[in-house]
Amino acid sequence: MMVRRQGDWLTAKVGDELLMMSTQKVNYIGLTEVGLRIWEIIETAQPVENICAQLLKEYNIPPEACRAEVDAFLDELVEHGAAAVDLPPAG
């Protein structure tokens, strides 16, 4: 599964608050530090496995927890129209 950014978004840091805001619609997504890192990693389209592998290098978290967090955040990005997940061709 390849993940790629969609739409035009900016990231903002206000005090301790991290967020993404759409420049095309009134839409925002609250971010954690890891969420922001995922957003940075997918600046170029990436397989989900690559995102997890990169995070495992940078954070001390179990692989299953990492994958669950990545999946949850990607779901949120897709829901807000900020990313698309391309499934591999069938067959």
């Binding site: 900016l10 990231t11 903002a12 840091k13 206000v14 005090g15 301790d16 608050e17 991290l18 967020l19 805001m21 420049t23 009134v26 925002y28 997504i29 609250g30 971010l31």
Partner: protein, 246 residues
């Protein structure tokens, strides 16, 4: 000497008794009486989207005092006794840059405060504001000095910030008159202690990222480009094309 609940509910802060005021609020759908005799405000508590809170102090109890006692029990005819010692040091940042700088400093001042957009406050003419909550005028004056000196020393704020001391909420003065003439009685204190036991408070949802998004949106709409400090210089919206009228 403590009065019986019936006597307290018969107090008349305005033209009608507290019991009658509460009955009217329930009848109009603004207040709910639960089967256990407790009261709660009707409807969903809206998400708080304008303010960042600095919880450097005990809770204030505004949900009970302002939104229940003042609006319903006293029908806006009296200021709650629980608010008698409430003073605020109000700070008026001119830009989002100043608002965030002041908020960051406030986190290190041992006093409860809130920071945000004041545009939706019908009693304020300010775009941004910060409020420190203090008990008593002398404490407010002491805090004013600290705030003035601390903010003046910050390069993003300086000595020209508008900082004032006010008493309680602006709604009170609008409804009851000048705050130096507020009247409080021991019966009011007893009534409020009694009704506190019958008030059920539901906390509003609070997300800091929602507030931050609102701040940036508002700054953009007002033409306050200091929001670019927080977006890495990226504009929230692109400028639309315009055409030569001739």
């Amino acid at each position: 000497m403590t009065k019986a609940p019936e006597e307290l509910m018969a107090l008349r802060p305005g033209g009608t008794s507290v019991a009658e005021n509460i009955r009217r609020s329930i009848q109009s759908g603004r207040l709910v009486e639960n089967s256990d005799g407790t009261f709660e405000l009707a409807g969903n508590q809206k998400q708080k989207v304008h303010w960042m809170y600095v919880d450097n102090g005990p809770p204030l109890g505004c949900g009970f005092l302002m939104y229940f006692m003042f609006h319903h029990a006293y029908a806006e005819a009296a200021v709650p006794d629980g608010c008698s010692a409430c003073y605020k040091v109000k700070v008026v940042p001119r830009t989002l840059r100043e608002l965030v700088a002041a908020w960051e400093i406030a986190k290190h001042i041992e006093c409860r405060s809130k920071w945000g957009i004041d545009l939706d406050n019908p009693f304020s003419q300010n775009t941004y504001a910060g409020y420190f909550y203090v008990t008593g005028l002398e404490a407010a004056r002491a805090l004013f000095k600290v705030v003035r000196e601390t903010f003046a020393a910050d390069p993003k704020l300086g000595p020209d910030m508008v900082i004032t001391i006010k008493r309680g909420c602006s709604e009170y003065e609008a409804a009851v008159g000048p705050s130096d003439r507020y009247a409080f009685t021991t019966e009011m204190a007893e009534l409020e202690a009694y009704l506190k036991t019958r008030f059920r408070e539901r906390k509003a949802v609070y997300y800091g990222s929602t507030v931050a998004a609102r701040w940036i949106e508002t700054a953009f709409r007002l033409g306050d480009d200091t929001y670019l400090d927080f977006t890495g210089g990226k504009r929230l919206r692109k400028k639309t094309m315009t055409y030569d009228p001739a």
